[in-house]
């Protein structure tokens, strides 16, 4: 059933963040253990919708990397309710925060990212897609048990970059998990991915095409890359790596590759 709010939820309630402006929505943050044996626990920050949270969908946001924090990027400079000021001393409101439309859950995944941790240090050197997706499934199951008011709520997954892997992989895990239930309590309705890593071969071909069509590299280098690089492989040859490094280091110039027309961060 819908269950009642257990004390775990209230223990995680954030009364206010240092330097935060007054807000009307509730927010929670804390840990969910996803593997007792290894002592892996994932950290989340949950910002409820600004109005009628009980009627709004639940949306999980994942950043990529792999190894990057959804709190550093998604929450603090993209879709979260607050922006951090230059000195890191206070917060100000994000006019286009996505919690105006939904209840947004930010997850630092996998263990080793941000505040998420493991008590087994070898976990930090053998993370991969499979365990990340499995731990994220366990996280969602246990998080919804801690927040039972979100059982059966329309649920979407969102993310960017290497989360182009995390998002569909978690969606598949949840889809498979739900097959055992006539009325799944994780009511996954869909997902949305931005600038997502999708297919290693086609992504690479498309990336080099972008570099050439946006005049970031010379014709000569473009032709060299296409002739020296076999993108069907997972590990490229030395000559391929050399020509790509030449392109980036000698022809791109001092730019922000993540936003090629804005100034770089000095």
């Amino acid at each position: 059933g819908g269950g009642t709010k257990d004390e775990g939820q209230e223990v995680d309630r954030i009364s206010a963040l240092p330097g935060q402006p007054p807000v009307t929505f509730s927010q929670f943050s804390g840990y969910i253990t996803v593997n007792e044996t290894h002592g892996r626990a994932l950290f989340y920050w949950f910002t409820e919708a600004t109005t009628h949270p009980e009627k709004k969908p639940l949306v999980l946001w994942l950043n990529g990397g792999p190894g990057c924090s959804s709190i550093a990027y998604g929450a603090s400079e993209e879709i979260g309710p607050f922006r951090i000021n230059r000195t890191g001393s206070s917060l100000y409101l994000n006019k286009y925060s996505w919690n105006k439309e939904a209840n947004i859950l930010f997850l630092e995944s996998p263990a080793g990212v941000g505040f998420s941790y493991t008590n087994t240090s070898s976990d930090l050197t053998d993370s991969g897609d499979q365990r990340t997706a499995q731990d994220a499934l366990i996280f969602m199951i246990r998080w919804i048990s801690r927040f039972p008011q979100y059982k059966y709520r329309d649920f979407y997954i969102s993310g960017e970059s290497y989360a182009g892997h995390y998002v569909p992989q978690l969606a598949k895990k949840i889809h498979d998990y739900n097959k055992a239930y006539s009325e799944p309590f994780i009511n996954l309705k869909g997902f949305i991915v931005g600038n997502g890593v999708t297919d290693s071969y086609y992504d690479n071909i498309g990336t080099v095409t972008f570099w050439w069509s946006h005049s970031m590299i010379s014709d000569r280098t473009y032709r060299s890359i296409l002739s020296l690089c076999n993108f069907t492989l997972t590990n490229f040859s030395q000559s391929c790596n050399d020509v790509i490094n030449y392109a980036i280091n000698s022809e791109f110039g001092n730019i922000d590759q993540y936003s090629i027309y804005t100034p770089t961060c000095t």
Partner: protein, 148 residues
Amino acid sequence: CTENYAEKYYNRPEVQRAMHANTTGIPYKWTACSDVLIKNWTDSQFSMLPTYRELMAAGLRIWVFSGDTDSVVPVTATRFSLNHLNLTVKTQWYPWYSGGQVGGWTEVYEGLTFATVRGAGHEVPLFQPKRGFTLFSSFLAGKELPKS
């Protein structure tokens, strides 16, 4: 440089207390990206396209968007990959609008919606917050992006 602000803010003890974070005394500073994880990443699925096909068949609502000034996972990379799903077009390619300006272009397929976001880098909501919000609102509503 905004991620530098996060490095300052989330390493403040009073912020970690307020967030119930770092309760076990993690033996390293909080940081935006873990070098250890990315250098030692093991299994990585070569292509997500089979997973997309399976989840589209399951009837999930799937949207893919692309900031068009990103050169790390650029719009042409995503288009080239999606192209190989061989999708059936439902609504032909058109410019979508936000705030009276072209927000990007979009095409709606059976099972998937693709959209570009004009003038946005890798982190779309950072560079084009209003267009990112329009995109998100349309996704949640299950509506096609605005034609004007």
